[in-house]
């Protein structure tokens, strides 16, 4: 894991008055409206809100998949709102691991190849890629499924491959967008427990509708109409703050 990204002591993510505005015809829709948020370097944060509340928009901006319309977004010491596109690509490659609701595994690659892919983009040597991908898949309990293609795996297995892929470049931040949305509750629970374990060594932000699963997080952030509406859970060890 990279421990070098820490410009603000103990805080991995800092948002200052971050807003995201979309235009739909003549209408202006504020997906995020002046968000101020600090997230610590370790632990699991659950972003909870209704559909269209802005939680995914927040996740995309923190993951450098989208840019804020205004405000400052600092993640692992990098000001994402000012970085050029090429630097954002490098940021996504080295600093963030994504876990998608529909797993988004490349269908014609095996589980092992899917996990090796981000390391390929990062320029890791082939033997090291293979060794590390095998280790990660073993860690998520898929050591016997290395050569299987996504269609040969169950939903839970696919999501575990996706989690292993997210960990491939050892990023300090994992972003999971509804990771249990396509899974049954028992499998969802297992995935959450896996993410919870991963959060012991890095920051994991999970977007979810499911309040019971959100309760497993160290911190729950409620979002409504593009604004944060609730603070950290009492059990949060690292320093965090919400201001709105």
């Amino acid at each position: 894991m990279n421990d070098t990204h820490s410009p603000l002591r103990g805080r991995l993510i800092v948002l200052r008055e971050a807003s995201k505005v979309y235009r739909r015809g003549d209408q202006v829709v504020a997906a995020l409206d002046g968000i101020n948020l600090e997230v610590p370097e370790r632990g699991m944060v659950a972003l909870v809100g209704a559909s269209g509340s802005g939680k995914s928009s927040l996740l995309h901006i923190v993951g450098a998949m989208d840019r804020p319309t205004s405000g400052e977004v600092t993640v692992a010491g990098q000001r994402l709102d000012t970085l050029p596109e090429s630097a954002l690509t490098a940021f996504r490659r080295n600093t963030v691991g994504f876990v998608f609701q529909s797993f988004n595994l490349i269908p014609n690659l095996s589980a092992l190849e899917n996990v090796m892919l981000p390391m390929e983009f990062a320029g890791t040597a082939a033997p090291e890629r293979r060794r590390r991908a095998t280790d990660l898949l073993t860690r998520v309990g898929l050591s016997t499924r290395l050569t299987h293609r996504p269609r040969e795996l169950s939903g839970g297995e696919q999501q575990r491959v996706a989690i292993a892929r997210a960990l491939a470049n050892d990023p300090p931040l994992i972003l999971a967008d509804e990771p249990t949305g396509n899974l049954d509750s028992r499998t969802g629970q297992m995935i959450y427990e896996l993410l919870k374990e991963i959060a012991k060594e890095r920051t994991v932000i999970v977007v979810t509708h499911a309040e019971p699963l959100a309760q497993l997080a160290d911190q729950i952030v409620h979002i409504k109409d593009g604004r944060l509406s609730q603070g950290a859970q009492p059990g949060m060890k690292a320093r965090s703050s919400l201001t709105q």
Binding site: M65, R92, F100, N104, L117, P118, F121, R165
Partner: protein, 420 residues
């Protein structure tokens, strides 16, 4: 796994689509190969025509046949015409002749020709059929310049009582005082020539000729200067009209110029017309390839937008993703090219022959029908064809996928989420 390898593997994701696309791209490749083979056949035709078609102009003194002893036709071209002709652009060779006639019973007369041993032995009335075949003895050589030696046609030899086995010892005496209604006497002594060879031309009158070295002719007939006929060969049929134009401007007042220009113009026109047809076909085939690749790649990019978004979210560069799609496009074209080659090997010859026939027939005079028949295009697959295929593959892949690659670069990583 490099992005190029991902591109290679993506190709095999849908076998059915691969077959359909290979057929779609293979068809224009097939058309391209057919057109290329027509272009090749036309080029070969042009080469053959350049050898077969008469590129040679004939100059002789204005209003005269230029025979030194022919009644009313004894005027010769001025000697300096040779140097002038050699200075004209696109003149490949100038060959001066001296001609006389000698009476022969049964055939009225035979032709006596003075020619440089290096030059073509042309037969009067059959100028395009040069260098008759030696059937006994040998031809004239450099060493014969100025010597009293000659070769004669088999008809003339028969008239003179010369047999092939006599060659080497045989001699023929020309009596320059003998006359004929169209031949006047020259006040010159008879001359005896050693006959070193007998030729056959395939023409009765062509076999009634005698060739001696040019210098020997001057001495025998006492012609100190002047030229009977001057054959001027242009460097190509295309340049023949230009050569003729310059000669007319330069020597038109002293010389008649007999030109096969119409044949040259036919050759140029026909060749250009068919080559234009072939080029248009190649351009059409290339355009079809680009269109097919354009739509196929557009479909693929739309279908895999979420994948592109995912790759971007995982940190793949735009260039890397574009490379994987470009690899796929190039391979699609390559498979299409292979399909086109297979089609071409089976049916290319027949289609090329049909199109070639339709394209060339309107331009061919009747006497060239046989020639055209022997030049039917056949499927040939050489380095040039391979080069054209590779170039076409790259062109179609690059041009056809350019728009899709632009779309790929503009796609946001958020596309990964739209999949959900």
């Amino acid at each position: 796994m490099s992005m190029v390898r991902i591109g290679v593997r993506n190709l095999w994701r849908s076998k059915l689509r691969l077959v359909l696309v290979a057929a779609l791209i293979g068809t224009p490749f097939f058309l391209l190969l057919v057109m290329e083979s027509i272009g090749d056949a036309v080029q070969r035709q042009t080469d053959v025509l350049k050898e077969s078609v008469n590129n040679t102009l004939q100059l002789r003194s204005r209003g005269s046949m230029g025979h030194v002893n022919m009644v009313g036709n004894e005027d010769l071209l001025p000697q300096d015409a040779l140097a002038k002709v050699k200075g004209v652009d696109h003149v490949a060779k100038a060959e001066p002749y001296l001609l006389a006639m000698t009476p022969t019973e049964g055939h009225n007369f035979a032709m006596v020709v003075g020619v440089d041993p290096d030059d073509t032995r042309r037969l009067e009335s059959h100028g395009e059929a040069g260098n008759p075949k030696i059937i006994a003895g040998r031809d004239l050589t450099e060493a014969d310049r100025g010597k009293r030696v000659a070769i004669i046609g088999q008809g003339f030899a028969r008239w003179a009582g010369l047999k092939p086995q006599d060659i080497g010892q045989a001699a023929l005496t020309l009596d320059l005082k003998r006359t004929h209604p169209v031949i006047f006497a020259l006040d010159r002594p008879p001359v005896t020539l050693t006959i070193v060879g007998i030729y056959a031309s395939g023409y009765v009158f062509g076999d009634m000729q005698l060739f001696m070295p040019f210098d020997t002719f001057r001495e025998v007939y006492g012609v100190r200067d002047g030229i009977s006929w001057l054959f001027v060969r242009a460097d190509s049929a295309e340049n023949l009209p230009a050569v003729e134009k310059q000669l007319r401007a330069m020597l038109g007042n002293v010389a008649d110029i007999i030109s096969p220009t119409t044949v040259a113009e036919f050759q140029t026109t026909a060749t250009r017309a068919v080559q234009r047809l072939a080029s248009s076909g190649i351009a059409l085939a290339a355009a079809l390839m680009v269109i097919v690749i354009f739509f196929v790649m557009l479909l693929i990019v739309r279908e895999r937008a979420w994948e592109i978004g995912t790759l971007k979210a995982l940190g793949a560069s735009d260039a890397g993703i574009a490379m994987s799609f470009l690899t796929e496009a190039i391979l699609l074209c390559a498979i299409g090219a292979i399909a086109g080659v297979v089609l071409f090997l089976f049916w290319g010859g027949a289609l090329a022959h049909l199109i070639f026939g339709l394209g060339i027939t309107p331009f061919l005079p009747a006497q060239y029908n046989t020639l055209a028949g022997t030049l039917a295009p056949a499927p040939r697959f050489g380095p040039t064809t391979l080069g054209i295929l590779v170039a076409a593959c790259l062109f179609a892949a690059l041009a056809g996928s350019a728009w899709s690659i632009r779309q790929i670069i503009r796609l946001s990583p958020i596309e990964a989420i739209r999949h959900e």
